[in-house]
Symmetry: C2
Subunit: 227 residues, 2 copies
């Protein structure tokens, strides 16, 4: 469903150029469960933002479900982002003036769901990430790992067919991490596609394939039998 070829990303900083991605080829099929790993600064988040249609590559081809992303207009891209892709940001990217409930509800508002149906679905995912008694807290009234779980709930709420999760367990203790990984496994078992950045080897063991980046290129791409 996703095919990228020759993807590069160059950040221009004054007269300095940062080559974050130096030619990435990757093919991801429906219902794959993929981990992206690599050193800090190797280009993982940059790749995730391009895959999630949140940023454009400097060059290269991006084919999404048979259609060329470069030929889509803003509306089509927004529709893919809202309907098909759930994104868990590395820095959570929550609205600071909104409660956990309102942050999770936002994708359903964009999708035009009625408010009655929305409240059922929002509380369902908030319960699933273990934040039932924190739904009315704002981000600065939550712990780091609780904020991270709000970001995970928001990514799942509209039942997207692709989940892109950038370091989803970075602030979670082992037990809470494991509960999140079980939740993600359930989503995967329903036929959805999971692409996850992680630096934790024991989290990567849930995945069926590991792509390792270094300095903006793919070092290795290996299939594995998950635990």
């Amino acid at each position: 469903i996703i095919r990228i070829q020759g993807i590069t990303k160059i950040y221009q900083l004054g007269d300095e150029e940062v080559h974050a991605l130096r030619g990435i080829d990757l093919e991801i099929n429906q219902n794959e469960y993929l981990a992206i790993m690599g050193p800090s600064g190797s280009g993982k988040s940059t790749l995730m933002h391009i895959l999630g249609c949140l940023d454009v590559p400097t060059s290269g081809l991006y084919d999404f479900e048979g259609r060329n992303i470069a030929e889509m207009d803003g509306n089509e891209l927004a529709e893919i982002r809202n309907q098909k892709i759930g994104f868990v940001f590395q820095n959570f990217n929550l609205l600071s003036q909104s409660s956990a409930y309102e942050n999770v509800e936002l994708p359903l508002v964009y999708a035009g769901m009625s408010s009655g149906k929305r409240s059922n679905r929002v509380m369902e995912v908030i319960n699933q990430v273990g934040l039932t008694d924190r739904a009315d807290h704002k981000p600065n009234q939550l712990s780091g790992g609780q904020r991270q779980r709000v970001a995970i709930a928001r990514a799942m709420v509209n039942k997207p067919s692709i989940i892109l999760a950038d370091e989803p367990t970075g602030n979670l203790d082992s037990k809470t991490s494991y509960e999140i990984m079980k939740l993600i496994k359930d989503i995967h078992d329903l036929g959805n596609t999971i692409i996850m950045v992680t630096h934790e080897e024991d989290i990567a063991r849930f995945c069926h394939r590991i792509v390792r980046l270094r300095d903006g290129v793919i070092l290795s791409d290996t299939k594995q039998v998950p635990e």
Copy 2:
């Protein structure tokens, strides 16, 4: 050097009360190397902010180097925070409009160091965390793990005798994590005190003592031989 007794912290949220800490007793001596662990939401960051004199407890005693914190004025607390304690925040807490260099330099500006001496010391710690070629980048021009390392460099720059680090490796790959842990070990070997929150068991193995929290109380406090 640090002794706390009966420390509680209650967050008031409208008519809801969140008991983040429910009576914590802890004694930390000079040159200890302590890990604080526990589930997400168990009160680790709340405890760290109180230990770092960044927040006040709801009740209880806090004795810092023989003096009662509650009897200190704003200036004395600011001096302790600037001279004696280096704090690595879980959410990094960097100034978004300042470069990595300017963020790391800030404690030295507060301490009144001359600009010539400052630039040597700032580049020394920036080199130590592996960000020499990112010193002029702003936080949104850095990767997640690079932002985390700026926060670590800032905490170390004024050579404080106590380092409080809240999840310092949450966004770092194993190799970069290991380099940071070696750096922290060097600081410890110079006689300084390290208090670190972590959820990663292999990071906790560097520590000499592990305090486990659950629901705002200490579950266990065990000494161990570090790796």
